[in-house]
Amino acid sequence: MKKLSTLLAATALVGMMAGTAWSKTFVYCSEASPEGFDPGLYTGGQTFDAAAHTVYNRLVEFKRGTTEIEPALAESWEISADGKEYTFKLRPGVKFQTTEYFTPTRELNADDVIFSFERQYKTDNAWNKYVPGASWEYFSGMGLPDVLDKIEKVDDLTVKITLKRPEAPLLANLGMPFISIVSKEYADKLAADGKMELMNQQPLGTGPFTFVAYQPDAAIRYKANPDYWGGKQKIDDLVFAITTDAAVRAQKLKAGECHLMSYPNAADVAELKADPNLNVSEQAGLNVAYLAYNTLVAPFDKVEVRKALNMAINRQAIVDAVFQGAATVAKNPIPPTMWSYNDAVEDDKYDPEAAKKMLEEAGVKDLKMKIWAMPVARPYMLNARRAAELMQADLAKIGVTVEIVSYEWAEYLKLSSAKDRDGAAILGWTGDNGDPDNFLDTLLGCDAVGGNNRAQWCNKEFDDLVTKAKETSDIAERTKLYEQAQVVFKKEAPWNTLDHSLAVVPMSKKVSGFVQSPLGDFVFEGVDIAE
């Protein structure tokens, strides 16, 4: 087979030369078609890669390769002492892209920013329902409608956001793709022409790449934006080659048909690593998979029982069987790439003997329980069924009988939230914005019981810590609070923390300047290819 891939590469190269003269083109083999090109409307990562990180910018953005916030379209900002007023100074001289379908006449100003926010939550805004079923999922998902009081123009380059209550994670939220800044001038033009839906088909922003064309389910084409405020990119053209089959993506990468690919099959990683023409970059993803006990139901309301079950399950075996090494065992509810990750926390040791004893001491005999396994593969858990089977075998060793249940995905999501759920549920979370609040409060806070808090776990000590951290703007102070919260979490064990999956990005050796994002985004600003 080795010979074949060289052959393939050779034919591809010949084809390359025979074709039309190509400028410096970067080809990315992406995993799925974008849902659309207006990032506010969608939740899919492939959509954010295709629209938000190419065409658009945000007020603030994540520093490449980190979850830290840095200035983008906002040059600087000030937060009032009570943590309720955020004043953003916009970067002067930012030009919107000039495309075949629109030529801007003015630069970015406060109107664009206000429009970008208001269209997502003001129901009287004409753009609030400009496509059928528009729902601005992230805007409401991140709780902005509850927190946001108003957004005002102070002057052409100053915008003030007022909140109903202090909310430290706001800045991180504003770095998220959904709140990309769009051009009001372009929107007005589309509205005047009666073609509002084009906002979602022919995007126009301030970002490093200008949208050229989308061939459905096949390719998206961009060219470098010559007017980009961050400087023109080193590559001339960017192409997303949509290739849904991971094995085919790998083959294309090896054949030199693309420079970088997303989400390889776990099974292919070893071979990709061995390929002399490829580099494989790896990083822990911003996610966690967990087994949530229902802490409202006996005997799982006892810490000792939960701890005993945790100790009886061999999580390393699960990681090996399900991910073939492309994941690490989790000990905290937040992933290690996130700030405030508490590495000092002591993990539960796999020890069936001790677990058995502990269960006996807690007075629990002949325990029968259900384990819920998701019916779908998610980045944090590729095969919940297989994981559940392994847990079943492990728990049988300490005399616990497990029945594995599953439901259709939408049903699963709904039923697993119920307070009277019978059994422990496998589920997980992929971080949105790199703020620990997005895990600790969202998934384990008292407010989330009956909702995102699948353990139905309300612990006063923990809840006070994370609530306090949410209201404090000082990062050092917040870090301390979150570190403490993780200690409480481990002591109380509402979950068995299963794994953090590893994000693997194979790319050609010719590629330079690509930095893996801990948020799982594919950002091509700053990449280059050697000739």
Partner: protein
Amino acid sequence: MAVAEIKTATPPTGLSEFWFYFSRNKGAVIGLVLFVVILFVAIFAGFVAPHSPSIQNREVLLLPPVWAEGGRWSYFLGTDPVGRDILSRLIYGARFSLFIGLVVVSISVVSGVLVGLIAGYFRGRVDMIIMRVMDIILAFPSLLLALVLVAVLGPGLLNAMIAISLVNLPHFVRLTRAAVMAERSKDYVVASKVAGAGTLRLMFLTILPNCLAPLIVQATLAFSAAILDAAALGFLGMGAQPPTPEWGTMLAEAREFIQRAWWVVTFPGLAILVTVLAINLMGDGLRDALDPKLKRS
């Protein structure tokens, strides 16, 4: 009675005549032999298979077949990505495929014949409604309809079989109805009616046996088509769910190894092809033996 049967172009009088025509078709005999072998292997899978289909031997991941470099006799057709013996999985898989074929054909034949009999015998409004419903089912590409049905019912072998039976139904209904309508006005039916035979007796004992020939041929075709469709659904991830050693599901799981391990892709497909081919060969022979028009040409 025998005279009447030959006249009305219906099944041959005896097994011997049937066998005479069937065995004249060499392909059909080959098909029959193959089918019997597959059936034997499926029934006695527990004795025939060298390994358990689900035991994962982590020492031998993706071992090639015995004749390739690095192959071992104990894993004749090699192993899959988690170290299961492919041959054993194929042997157990035969059970699933034949079972699927059997269940689907039983469901669609029984319900199809029943509905077809009713439509053809009673005619009128009942017939019209039934035929419209069949038209509706036929207006969708069968695989697409089955796929969507399974998505609604939830992926799995049982639901896949139900869906495939349903999309197969119209063929049997139409066939039975046409045959019933052709037979209904014939003398022997009219005679029994005059003799006072009841509706049910007329439908099941008088008319039905005389429509059997085309139904048997169609049932054979449906048998092989069901195996193909179930494998296709499995391949699309909507049929039997892993780790079931159903052939289509095995192919779906093997797809990611297409570049590295040709054997995990090749053998399950080959198994499907051989089984379906064997049944279709038999189907051709059956048609020759049962269809007098072709018999004479």
